[in-house]
């Protein structure tokens, strides 16, 4: 398989088993098969705590699969590669660095000269609308602004693969819609392949080309849906289109079942 035509990401029968602190074994994902094409935006939805995030850590190289293969651009993943960008659910900006220095961190870690890194960082800060805030520290920003810093810090590395782990779940509803639009805009110019993990079905349909529904944990792919809504999209307005609602119903039929299973398990666990 030549590297040029191979898909951006391929998981083949990937499983991940963690050892819990109490000595037991916990299967987070099992026999996962998933292909993400180049430049494709894939959203992964599933019940809370089913192991969606583990999929991302496998692709990023932060964790190794216990079984199966993970390929990025046709090459098996060994450790953290330089093609990958990752936006975390929690705040992962460095609190002791200024906004500018936070965005410069990636290029600097990769050996880009300081002046060049600074210039690139300023460009991306301007693009996320934070040019005036470069000397601030993260604690002086709002949650949405910190998320923008995280986006700029990720995009400045020109990632071919963008992994996002419920990046906007901590934001309020209005900010979230705004950030989703901004993400689509930033992404549209890059040609990066995106895997976007969320438990919000609406968000996933509004953003993605393809929605992957995961089963209740241990997670594996249940069903894949193509989203044929035209781009460019505006998150707020696309939600109201009849086609959107149709797709939503279709996917919810599949996802709702898994959510129910998870909930019943939780109830059984409590009882």
């Amino acid at each position: 398989m030549s590297a040029d035509i191979s898909p951006a990401i391929q998981l083949r029968g990937a499983s991940k088993i963690f050892r819990t602190p109490s000595g037991g074994l916990h299967t987070a994902v099992r026999e996962l098969d998933l292909t993400v094409g180049r430049g494709e935006f894939v959203a992964v939805v599933g019940p809370t705590g089913c192991g969606k995030s583990t999929t991302l850590t496998l692709v990023s190289g932060l964790e190794e699969p216990t079984e199966g293969d993970v390929l990025v651009a046709g090459e098996p993943v060994r450790g953290v590669g330089d093609k990958v960008g990752f936006v975390f659910q929690q705040d992962a900006t460095f609190p002791w660095r200024t906004v500018l220095s936070n965005v410069m961190a990636g290029p600097r870690f990769r050996g880009v000269p300081k002046a060049e890194a600074k210039q690139k960082a300023r460009e991306w800060l301007a693009r996320v609308g934070l040019a005036a805030f470069e000397d601030r520290y993260p604690h002086q920003l709002s949650g949405g602004q910190r998320k923008r810093v995280a986006l700029a810090a990720t995009f400045v590395n020109d990632p071919e693969i963008l992994l996002m782990d419920e990046p906007f779940s901590a934001l309020d509803v209005q900010t979230r819609a705004l950030m989703s639009d901004e993400l689509l805009e930033l992404w549209s110019g890059t040609g990066a392949s995106v895997v976007f993990v969320t438990h919000d079905l609406e968000e996933s349909i509004a953003l993605a080309d393809k929605v992957v529904v995961m089963t209740a944990g241990p997670a594996t792919v249940k069903q894949v849906f193509d989203i044929d809504l035209p781009r460019p999209r505006k998150v707020e307005s696309v939600r109201l289109e009849p086609r959107f609602i149709e797709i939503y119903r279709e996917i919810w039929e599949s996802l709702g079942e898994e959510v129910r299973i998870t909930r019943e398990r939780g109830a059984a666990h409590v009882a």
Binding site: S60, L62, V80, D82, V84, G85, F86, F88, Q90, D91, A92, F94, P95, W96, R97, T98, A105, G106, F109, R110, Y137, P138, H139, A153, N157
Partner: protein, 292 residues
């Protein structure tokens, strides 16, 4: 003092009833100011009362003036030392000697403690191997090492520096270790994704996030460094405040012991002030109020 303040506080609400906003803000500001003054006055009063009673009881022979001395005599002693020097040379020289030993011991202890703490915090294997030994060493009351250092390093500053180092090392080590262990895993993951090598993660993520832990221990450990230096000098030295104390004790000069204590307190407070100043500058990135 407080009877003056109370009526004012009770009057304030009635004044605000007309609903004049600036009026209310005014009276509140005035009440706050008055409170501040009252606190300060009470502090001064307490000090004057304690010192005055001490002086009076001592002069009236209610307490033995020879054993307990009195503030005026202590003041005379400090004055004499400042103006005419001590038996072993000028007072400044004694202070400088003690400070020098304490500072050197503190700096060395902090460096070794931080390096060990970070290294063991990062390398779990080493931490597992050395853990029990460090626990055992920590359980020894380390001040008993001072006589041994005296034998090893003699009467000079080296033995005092050594006692200060062992006293400083442990609190700093444990805090640095804890700090390195409790680094936010997200930050480490993020740094690695952004392309940081292991060395970079240690230098630019682990160490910065451990600094607030380390700084907490710096405050405590400077006090320990002073203890190390003083005890070392007390056991045997040619210069220093500890020697001043032991000589005053040897000549039954109670006022001398107290005077040395006063000088020590001033030195320790000054050092503490400097440290707080440095901390403020280093932790500009922190939200105010999250750390004292």
């Amino acid at each position: 003092m407080s009877p003056d303040v109370m009526p004012e506080a009770q009057v304030a609400p009635t004044m605000t009833e007309p609903g004049n906003k600036t009026d209310r803000a005014h009276s509140r500001a005035r009440a706050a100011r008055r409170r501040k003054i009252a606190v300060m006055a009470a502090r001064v009063l307490l000090l004057v009362a304690v010192l005055g009673l001490w002086e009076a009881f001592s002069r009236a022979k209610v307490i033995d003036p020879f054993n307990f001395s009195m503030p005026s005599k202590i003041w005379d002693q400090v004055y004499a030392w400042v103006m005419h020097g001590t038996a072993q040379g000028p007072l400044g020289e004694q202070i400088w000697y003690t400070l020098y030993e304490a500072l050197l011991g503190w700096v060395l202890g902090v460096i070794v403690g931080v390096v060990f703490g970070i290294v063991l915090g990062r390398i779990t294997f080493l931490a597992d191997v050395l853990g029990p030994y460090i626990k055992v060493l920590n359980s020894i009351p380390r001040i008993v090492l001072a006589p041994i250092f005296m034998i090893w390093f003699g009467l000079g500053p080296a033995s005092k520096v050594a006692s200060a180092v062992v006293l400083v090392f442990f609190p700093v080590f444990f805090n640095a270790f804890q700090g390195a262990r409790e680094v936010d895993r997200n930050l480490v993951a993020n740094a690695r994704i952004l392309g940081a090598s292991n060395r970079r993660v240690t230098l630019q993520v682990v160490i910065p996030s451990a600094t607030s832990w380390i700084f907490t221990s710096l405050h405590v450990s400077f006090g320990f460094a002073l203890i190390g230096a003083i005890v070392g000098e007390y056991l045997g030295a040619t210069k220093g405040i500890g020697l001043l104390i032991s000589q005053s004790q040897g000549t039954f000069n109670t006022a001398g012991v107290y005077a040395a204590m006063v000088i020590l307190a001033v030195v320790a407070l000054a050092a503490e002030g400097l440290l707080t100043f440095a901390e403020r500058r280093i932790f500009r990135w922190k939200p105010t109020g999250s750390d004292s």
